[in-house]
């Protein structure tokens, strides 16, 4: 068993990447050295304070690089994430990780990553890793509007990969849903992370065309390590299964998708 690491990590850098969206780099060599794309870390502020976030929040590892930092994509959704967005260089956060199952990347099909919103995070890491191996990935990235789009210069700087951007209103990149960028005829291996309606749509498409699909799901979490059973999703056989230890990356065919 690869035990998770508990680490008080210093914020090395926090950069604005879009409206209410930040790129955070944390100094945690131990976790950075072990993390794989698709895994996550719990990020908290310790037991001394009770203001939100009191419970740690799960974040996909957005990069765990040769410079030994853990990169996170942080969007302000509520009081807890707003507080984390006010972190400054030198502040410390309590990390637990790396946690959960990573993506497994096919080498015999073209790899297409489908990201919705902050679902972009694991694919920054994955695209950067694949590029280092000399493999191409297509990175499809959707947001509602241009002001939410994570800086494509920053994406290229972090990963070396240029994202193909979709916005619902066409204010940046292509107009429409990210789904439009999938080309089933190329028989790609699909990897997806984003809002549930997007995952459902990708799952329908993958099943219809017989394409392999792994999804990274998000559910409210308590412990992050499989004890509290808080973060369940429904399996294809109707069981509640834990997204923290059995996921967050699942083969889409292991999960139940509403029709």
């Amino acid at each position: 068993m690869n035990a998770p690491i508990r680490d008080w990590a210093e914020v090395r850098e926090i950069r604005r990447a879009a409206d209410e969206t930040w790129w955070v780099e944390l100094d945690s060599p131990a976790i950075a050295g072990r993390a794989r794309p698709g895994q996550f870390v719990m990020v908290g502020l310790g037991v001394e304070q009770v203001a939100a976030p009191f419970l740690p929040r799960p974040f996909s590892v957005g990069l765990a690089g040769p410079d030994r930092t853990v990169g996170l994509l942080l969007r302000e959704f509520g009081a807890g994430t707003r507080r984390l967005a006010r972190l400054r260089d030198g502040d410390r956060v309590l990390l637990l990780g790396p946690l959960g199952q990573a993506f497994s990347v096919s080498s015999d099909r073209p790899v297409v990553c489908i990201a919705g919103g902050v679902g972009l995070a694991p694919f920054l890491f994955l695209a950067a890793e694949q590029r280092k191996l000399g493999r191409q990935v297509r990175l499809l990235y959707g947001e509602r509007t241009a002001d939410r789009v994570f800086s494509s210069e920053l994406i290229e700087e972090l990963t070396g990969v240029a994202p193909i951007i979709y916005t619902e209103d066409g204010s940046a990149g292509h107009q429409g849903l990210v789904l439009a960028g999938i080309r089933p005829e190329e028989e790609p291996a699909l990897l997806a992370c984003g809002p549930t309606p997007m995952l459902q749509a990708v799952a329908r498409l993958a099943i219809e065309h017989g394409l392999p699909l792994q999804v990274s799901v998000e559910e409210h979490m308590g412990c992050g390590i499989g004890t509290c059973q808080g973060c369940v999703v429904r399996s294809a056989s109707g069981e509640w299964i834990k997204s923290c230890t059995e996921g967050p990356v699942f083969d889409a065919r292991e999960l139940s998708w509403p029709t």
Partner: protein, 307 residues
């Protein structure tokens, strides 16, 4: 050197700090993060006669100063617990004590779980869960004096092992239930389980928790837990395991001074797994500085005369 040892439930305790049911699984998940065998012990996730699938998500969410949960007692059931979970506890926890949290829909189910576990190795005793707010009949026994009396008496006949009853805070007088447990042969009390609560997403105008309501835990409930521990202590001489919102040794000492011999840490483990050892060390330091053995602090709060 501080003396944290106590003799309770027929055995020696090296530390007053336990991990609370539902927050530490069956121990194994925290084995790499917490030196379990150096603390007082653990109380397992609830075990029911048959496996339970639990509630729909969201099952957990943050609340001001704590969390709300409605897991719904998802667990592997008695047979799988004995086969898959108990051996690890038996083989890995030597000095730490194990209480198995037991739940049932009916008195017969509680009895079947207790009787089914009684002859097994690897644990000290039972914590009887009559106080789960997140399943339909979860507090049935915990809020009905006659039902509780019958249940405790039945379980007393089913086992000679320590029998601790985990009480709900959701009654007008917890002292009544403490007395009932004592009169019917229980060995100890855990005070308290979570408070029933509800959280609404105003954007969606829907409850956040899939089960609609849940149990509230964490620092927000600390003063209620301390008070109810003190109240239970007034009504019963049974040893008490204090629980609710503990995240520091100061919190733990409040429970101990209110009347708890042992304490359980729950929600705070999710924030920092090291909190259990930190609480143990803090209590140790307090005992050292005050040159008082832990057992002499239990119930030691001094209530001023009020006239």
């Amino acid at each position: 050197m501080a003396d944290l040892t106590q003799r309770l439930f027929g055995t020696q305790w090296q530390s007053p700090v336990l991990l609370a049911s539902g927050t530490c699984g069956y121990g194994e998940e925290y084995a790499e993060l917490i030196p379990l065998d150096e603390i007082g012990g653990i109380v397992t996730k609830a075990v029911s006669l048959e496996p339970r699938s639990g509630n729909p998500p969201h099952r957990v969410s943050e609340t001001p100063g704590g969390m709300i949960n409605a897991i719904g007692l998802q667990n592997v059931g008695l047979a799988a617990f004995i086969r898959e979970k108990l051996p690890w506890l038996r083989d890995n926890l030597v000095r730490a004590r194990v209480l198995i949290n037991v739940v049932g829909h009916t008195e017969d189910e509680f009895e079947a779980v207790v009787a089914g576990l009684d002859g097994e190795d690897g644990f000290l005793g039972f914590e009887i869960n009559v106080s789960c707010p997140n399943v339909k009949d979860g507090t049935l026994f915990g809020t009905d004096p006659a039902g509780l009396a019958g249940l405790v008496a039945t379980l007393r006949r089913a086992t000679a092992r320590p029998l601790v009853v985990k009480l709900t805070p959701n009654v007008p007088d917890i002292g009544l239930y403490a007395r009932i447990c004592e009169e019917n042969g229980a060995d100890g009390l855990s005070t308290i389980n979570t408070f029933p609560g509800m959280l609404i997403d105003v954007g969606k105008r829907r409850p956040v928790i899939g089960n609609v309501s849940g149990g509230v835990s964490g620092p927000a409930i600390l003063p209620m837990g301390v008070y109810l521990t003190w109240r239970a202590r007034q009504s019963s001489s049974l040893p008490i395991l204090g629980i609710g919102g503990i995240r520091s040794s100061d919190d733990a000492l409040q429970y101990i001074l209110a009347g708890a011999s042992l304490v359980q840490i729950g929600t705070a483990l999710f924030v920092d797994p090291e909190v259990a050892v930190a609480v143990h060390r803090g209590v140790e330091a307090y005992c050292t500085e005050s040159e008082t053995p832990l057992r002499e602090l239990v119930g030691g709060v001094q209530i001023p005369d009020r006239d």
